[in-house]
């Protein structure tokens, strides 16, 4: 069985070598924007306190290299609180903004990537205060996120479609954590 260090080195070699080795479909590189739709759900001890909700995401940034980009990722999701009543059937929103980096490689029309970032999150209401997610007067938290995805480059070199999934954590909101899944459209200028 290969050691973790060896596996990481092999993965890095694949990531760095792939762009050169593959006959990748032409794609623009530079400033890009992404708009995505999907769903967000909580995991961990607060999984039962809110339902999976619709989510939107925006990401803009710059491709420093063909295999690495930096950007700003904005995400918003809306959830029904499922805390013991009352209240009942109430909704709240979660907003996250983070600076992130994305590392990836492309094989023909497909690109594979891993991403991670750090930022700030905001919860719109104290409805989860009943289960200890928010303390009095507390609605912001730093946010960590990490994930990955796959992207399909269409023949127009400016556009691509993608499917991404991210895990996130808000330590200041009682370690609230969740998972996003989103389909997105990317435009590279």
């Amino acid at each position: 069985m290969a050691s973790p260090r060896l596996s990481a080195a092999a993965l890095a070699a694949v990531v760095l070598a792939a762009p050169a080795a593959a006959d990748a479909r032409p794609a623009s590189r530079g400033i890009f924007t992404e708009a995505g739709l999907g769903a967000t759900g909580f995991i961990g001890p607060h999984q039962a306190d809110a339902a999976v909700g619709p989510a939107i995401a925006l990401r803009g940034g710059y491709d420093l290299f063909s295999w690495f980009s930096v950007g700003v990722h904005l995400a918003a999701s809306s959830h029904e609180a499922t805390v013991p009543p009352p209240p009942e059937g109430e909704w709240f929103q979660l907003y996250r903004a983070q600076a992130d980096g994305r590392l990836g490689f492309r094989v023909d029309e497909l690109a594979f990537f891993a991403e991670g970032g750090l930022g700030i999150g905001y919860i719109s209401s104290n409805v989860l205060g009943k289960v200890g997610v928010t303390d009095p007067g507390e609605d912001f938290s730093i946010t960590f996120g990490a994930g990955g995805g796959i992207e399909y480059q269409i023949k127009n070199r400016h556009y691509a479609f993608g499917l991404a999934g991210d895990w996130w954590l808000m330590p200041d909101l009682d370690a609230l954590s969740g998972v996003d899944v989103r389909l997105y459209l990317r435009y590279t200028y």
């Binding site: 803009g60 009543p85 009352p86 709240f92 929103q93 719109s124 209401s125 409805v127 009943k130 009095p136």
Partner: protein, 284 residues
């Protein structure tokens, strides 16, 4: 560029929508009645003082905004309104609703009622204060500002409901009509006034109704000077061992409530001193 513009619009829309996100005031314990204790009469009342931010309400910016509001109001209403008649918390500055759940802890079905009363910065409404002859057992007291509906609760079951924003807005409006408007509470509470623009649209019916020399009608009050609740009195009555749990939901787009709500330090909360209204009091 069109894609980017659409993306930015889609992204910002929820941020605008969250400007009036509700906050929930949840008393730590529910109201429990029917415990069998000698002092338990099957009814109990809990008063919640809404946690308005003293620093904000005492600020010069807030006072300046009130004066500007008053100047603009007096330019279009007659007679002029004084600063004392303009409440610190106006009716339409916040929206209040109450969500509740009643749990029947007994093994028999029962009936419960929730009465909502309360006060604005001027007066607190207490229905029993309107009884003219305390020795007349048949003289009814006026209804509460909201509620007093019998609710059947199954054995060991629970029932949830809500006093909606429009219901409590009407209650706050009726409270001002009864107290500063000198309207008979029966007339105020049994009619809907949600669309009025001025108290002059409500037929003046002083209380008690059969006075030889009824007080003159007070000056008309434009809807802009009606006051919002600063306290809520929640009364729970049940014929079995039951618990009422409730959450006060407030939409406060102007940020008048303290960020920490009921957990705020007491010295940071605005202290209102409303009078308990009796029909003989003179409105300001």
């Amino acid at each position: 560029m069109k894609l980017a513009a659409i993306a930015v619009f889609v992204g910002l829309a929820p941020l605008v929508a969250c400007a009036a996100d509700p906050q929930y005031i949840q008393p730590e314990r529910g109201i429990e009645v029917g415990t069998g204790n000698p002092d338990d009469m099957g009814t109990a009342t809990e008063t919640v003082l809404l946690p308005y931010d003293a620093e904000l309400l005492n600020s010069t910016d807030f006072q300046r905004d009130r004066e500007a509001f008053l100047t603009e109001l007096n330019a279009r209403v007659e007679p002029d309104v004084t600063i004392d008649q303009l409440p610190l918390i106006r009716l339409d500055q916040i929206d209040v609703s109450i969500e509740w759940t009643i749990r029947n802890l007994s093994e028999e079905p029962g009936e419960a009622r929730i009465n909502i009363n309360g006060g604005n910065q001027y007066f607190v409404y207490v229905p029993d204060n309107f009884i003219i002859d305390p020795e007349d057992d048949e003289e009814p007291s006026p209804p509460p500002l909201a509620g007093n509906v019998p609710i059947d609760i199954p054995a060991l079951g629970d029932v949830s409901g809500v006093f909606r924003e429009d219901t409590l807005r009407e209650s706050a409006l009726d409270l001002d009509l009864i107290t500063r408007g000198l309207i008979n509470p029966f007339a105020a509470l049994l009619n809907i006034h949600e669309d009025i623009k001025n108290s002059s649209e409500v037929v003046y019916t002083p209380y008690p109704p059969d006075q030889d020399n009824p007080p003159p009608a007070p000056a008309p009050m434009p809807i802009e000077i009606f006051a919002q609740f600063v306290q809520l009195d929640v009364t729970f009555t049940a014929d079995r061992h039951m618990v009422l749990e409730y959450a006060i939901r407030i939409r406060d787009p102007e940020g008048l409530l303290h960020d920490e709500l009921l957990d705020a330090p007491p010295e940071e909360l605005y202290v209102f001193t409303p009078a308990v209204y009796t029909p003989t009091l003179t409105a300001p």
